[in-house]
Structures are given as structure tokens and as C-alpha cells.
């Protein structure tokens, strides 16, 4: 999930307890519901964080089932709803889902590639009470954007970014950056300025799902990052008061892990297209998950009692070095999925951490990326696009 509109620290008039805060007397509530409505998507981004086996995930929740999920999560105190996927606009009932969610009091965020949107739909979403739209771009130029998206989408996205603004929303653009597009950062920001965007998120690729599969081709080089960061900071200064730019540093180049999901089973709840409830959108692939489904259990049972949600809650599950580390209250030992993907054990410290005995795995991945980057194009590993054919070929069906 993205970080647009990042937390304000203790503000006047606030009681201090903000979303995502993990204070001592914090009652655990699912504050954030990420509804992955469908894995259908007309684009094929090789950096997509969706699971590799998405094509095998069938039997999408019906409109009534989604509304029931919204009601239960709302009754437990959830205020933020992310409508995502796949491409959420591929759901024919998207307007109805927005309307119901908004009537329940959710702050409704639509996270879309813009494909399937048109000006009248943007207006219809507004009328249904949608609070916020974020449009993602693959790159700043038509050629590269379409190459990365695996389809011809760029011109339409430009039109849709404008339509969103015309419908009375702030224009919020998200560019997922990686080795193949990060050198275009100036062009990306110039495009955003030309479009009169209000917020631009330069989100670094996180290595889950398809992105992990394509990691050697996507990991940016250190010198690329340094250049990009300097440019992003320059634009941040120049655009002050005009366009807000969020720049996220990739965790592979840090010495401390991100506080993934603000702690496992703490504030985030993901429901996937088939009704599986997860503590984060990548957790399906962890070993030993029971994958409770909203068709069988109430959200309250899943949130409070399921093994999956309790497994990495709090701090008792930790191993050294996290177990005795003072920073565990801040970063929760990092990401369980990253720990598992890299070390084979989801209870290890996230190898991004400099204190982790497995940190060398990150350095080796960076090195492999560099070796791949040095190869002539025809010898480099091809990017594997996220589409049903590749999903079935790689994961079987």
C-alpha cells in the first residue's frame, strides 16, 4: 500500500492517537481494509506485487459478499477502505460497492491504473461518494510506459488523470520506480507538473509477487538511486506549495527494515478476490498459513482468533537478533514475507536489517542486479509479464 498523505505527528486538536500509531493502550482494530476486488487486469506490469498464481484464484466474492465484508470491518472500527486489485474497475459493480462503502462511513480510496475509466464514470464515482482516486503510471513516455505495462495505455491514462481532476478530485499519481524507468525521473516529474498533479508518489518497487520474480531486472543501481533522490529533492523544493512529491527509498538500500503493515495483525486487513483474509497482501505465500475465508468465518473471528492473524502479532514469536533488540517496537522486525522469501523462515529478522545474520542476501541480490544490468540487452533475462498465461505456465493450474 502506498503512503500518500503520510501521518502528521501529534497535531493540535488531535488526541494523539492517530491511525497507525501503536501506543501502549492501543486496542487492536482493523483500521485499514484493503479490498482486492479482482485479479483481472488489462495491464501486465512485470513489477506487479500480486501473487504469481493469481490466475488460479477463482470464484470472486459477489457484490453482497463484499458489502457484508465492508459492514463487518466497519463495525469493528475500520475507517479506510482501499479498493484495489488487479484492476478494480474491471468489477462491473464498482459503483455500487463505492456507494455502499461510503454510506457505511468508510473513507473510500480507489487505486487504479485508469484503464476502464472515462470522464462520465469519474463523475459517477464522485456522485456515489468516492473520496479519493489514485492513478498509477508505468513511466513518463508513451514507449516505455506501454512496454512496461505490456499494452498501449499511456494516452488513455493521461486523459484519465485529467478526468479525475475535472470531477473535483485532487490528482494523485503513482509511479512505481525500478531500474528500467528510474532514470526518467525528471521526465516523470515534468509530466506530473504538466498535468497539474497535486500529489505524486514515486513508489519504489517492493519485491513481492511478480516483482520478486523479476527482481534481477528491476533492482535499481545505487548510482541510479542517488541521482533520482537528488532530482526528487530538487523538485520537492521547487514545487513547494504546488505539487507534493513523496519519494520512497527502496528498503534494499537501507540498514533498517520498514515497519511492515505497522505490525502484523495490528491495523491492516486484506481481503483477496476469493475472500481469503490476510494480514498483508503478500502473506498468502507464507508456509503454514491456514488462509481463513470470509465465506466461512466472520471478520471478527478471523481478526481476533485465527492462527494466521495471531502468528506474528506482538513480539513473542521473534528470534534473535530482534528478540532482544530495542528497535523491535519501532519496526516489528520488518517484513515477514521478505524474511521468508530470502531466508526460508518467516520468523527471522527481515534481511534488510544490518543486524540480521542474513543481510548478505540483500547485498548479493543487489550484486546480481548489477551483473544483469551490465549484460547486453540480448543476453539479459527477459522481464516476465504479469498475465494469466505466464501465471499458469509458472505456477501450473
Amino acid at each position: 500500500m502506498t503512503t500518500t498523505g503520510s501521518e502528521q505527528n501529534k497535531a493540535p486538536g488531535s488526541t494523539g492517537g492517530e491511525m497507525g500509531m501503536n501506543s501502549q493502550n492501543h486496542i487492536r482494530q482493523p483500521l485499514w481494509l484493503l479490498a482486492e476486488l479482482t485479479y483481472a487486469c488489462p495491464l501486465q506490469c512485470p513489477y506487479c506485487s500480486n501473487p504469481m498464481d493469481f490466475a488460479n484464484i477463482k470464484s470472486e466474492l459477489t457484490t453482497e459478499e463484499w458489502i457484508n465484508v465492508f459492514k463487518q470491518a466497519r463495525a469493528m472500527g475500520a475507517t479506510q477502505l482501499g479498493l484495489s486489485g488487479g484492476e478494480p474497475l474491471a468489477r462491473p459493480d464498482i459503483i455500487e460497492l463505492i456507494r455502499e462503502a461510503r454510506n457505511l462511513g468508510f473513507y473510500t480510496n480507489l487505486i487504479t491504473s485508469g484503464i476502464g475509466l472515462d470522464a462520465s464514470k469519474a463523475q459517477a464515482f464522485k456522485d456515489a461518494g468516492l473520496d479519493h482516486i489514485q492513478v498509477s503510471f508505468q513511466a513518463s513516455s508513451e514507449d516505455l510506459n506501454n512496454l512496461i505495462a505490456g499494452t498501449d495505455a499511456f494516452q488513455h491514462k493521461i486523459e484519465m488523470a485529467k478526468a479525475v481532476k475535472a470531477a473535483g478530485y485532487p490528482m494523485v499519481l503513482c509511479f512505481v520506480t525500478h531500474r528500467q524507468n528510474i532514470d526518467q525521473i525528471e521526465e516523470i516529474l515534468d509530466l506530473a507538473i504538466n498535468l497539474d498533479a497535486d500529489y505524486v508518489e514515486l513508489a519504489t518497487t517492493q519485491y513481492y509477487g511478480w516483482a520478486m520474480h523479476n527482481r534481477d531486472q528491476l533492482l535499481p543501481l545505487k548510482e541510479q538511486l542517488e541521482r533520482a533522490e537528488a532530482i526528487a529533492h530538487r523538485y520537492q523544493e521547487e514545487q513547494k506549495g504546488n505539487m507534493k512529491i513523496y519519494y520512497v527509498v527502496p528498503d534494499y538500500y537501507e540498514e533498517r527494515p520498514k515497519a511492515c503493515m505497522n505490525g502484523w495483525g495490528n491495523v491492516f486487513l486484506t481481503v483477496t478476490p476469493d475472500g481469503t483474509a490476510l494480514p498483508c497482501h503478500a502473506a498468502r505465500d507464507l508456509p503454514g498459513m491456514e488462509l481463513p475465508n470470509v465465506r466461512d468465518l466472520s471478520i471478527r473471528e478471523i481478526w481476533e482468533d485465527s492462527n494466521d492473524f495471531n502468528r506474528f502479532r506482538g513480539f513473542d514469536w521473534m528470534k534473535e537478533p530482534c528478540r532482544s533488540c530495542d528497535e523491535r517496537f519501532k519496526d516489528f522486525g520488518g517484513c515477514r514475507c521478505q524474511a521468508y522469501m530470502l531466508t526460508g523462515d518467516p520468523a527471522m529478522a527481515d534481511p534488510v536489517c544490518g543486524k540480521s545474520p542474513d543481510h548478505h542476501l540483500i547485498l548479493e541480490a543487489i550484486e546480481r542486479g548489477r551483473e544483469e544490468a551490465a549484460k547486453p540487452a540480448q543476453e539479459a533475462k527477459p522481464l516476465v509479464f504479469r498475465n494469466p498465461k505466464n501465471s499458469k505456465e509458472i505456477c501450473g493450474s
Binding site: G5, G13, T15, Q29, W32, H132
Partner: protein, 94 residues
């Protein structure tokens, strides 16, 4: 603090994308914005409630609050809150 943004004639409105509502699970008023929420203390809640319900000048807003709270002397507190809320991007002056 910089130049004051509000006087008796300015009209405070919620910033684009911000929503104000009562939140039963938190037992308080909150401001919702993309991917976040601020819980409001009761005083902030009473001010923002009126701002979100109807467009009116700060002067009118203060008169309304005084009527609701037994003529309490709250001018300074309201102005201070408005300036701080503005600095947090919660509201704009029209």
C-alpha cells in the same frame, strides 16, 4: 507563526479530500483523509463540525459556539485552532 490566515470575515472550509465525521468505534469526532485519520478532541470536534456543516464566517462561527457554550470567551482559542488546523492542511480560508 506566520501571517494569520483568518479574520472575522474569512470563511474556513475543509481542505479538498478531507472528511469530518463522528466515529462510534473511537467515541470521538475524526478527520479522514487519504490513508489516514486524526482523532479530534471535543473542542476541535465542535469547531470542525460547524465548518463541515455550513459555510460561514469565523465571526458567525464564534457567535454560534458562544451560543452553544453559555457565552464562553473562546475567541482566542478558536483563532489559534484555525491557524494550526490550516498549518496542518486540514482547512483553507475562502
Amino acid at each position: 507563526m506566520t501571517e494569520p490566515k483568518f479574520n472575522a470575515d474569512s470563511v474556513p472550509v475543509l481542505a479538498l479530500g478531507y472528511r469530518f465525521q463522528w466515529e462510534p468505534a473511537q467515541d470521538c469526532y475524526v478527520l479522514l483523509y487519504p490513508e489516514g485519520m486524526v482523532k479530534l478532541n471535543p473542542a476541535a470536534g465542535e469547531i470542525l463540525k460547524r465548518i463541515s456543516e455550513k459555510k460561514q464566517t469565523v465571526g458567525e462561527l464564534i457567535a454560534e459556539l458562544k451560543a452553544a457554550f453559555n457565552g464562553a470567551d473562546l475567541d482566542d482559542d478558536v483563532y489559534q485552532f484555525l491557524e494550526e488546523a490550516h498549518d496542518n492542511d486540514w482547512i483553507r480560508a475562502e
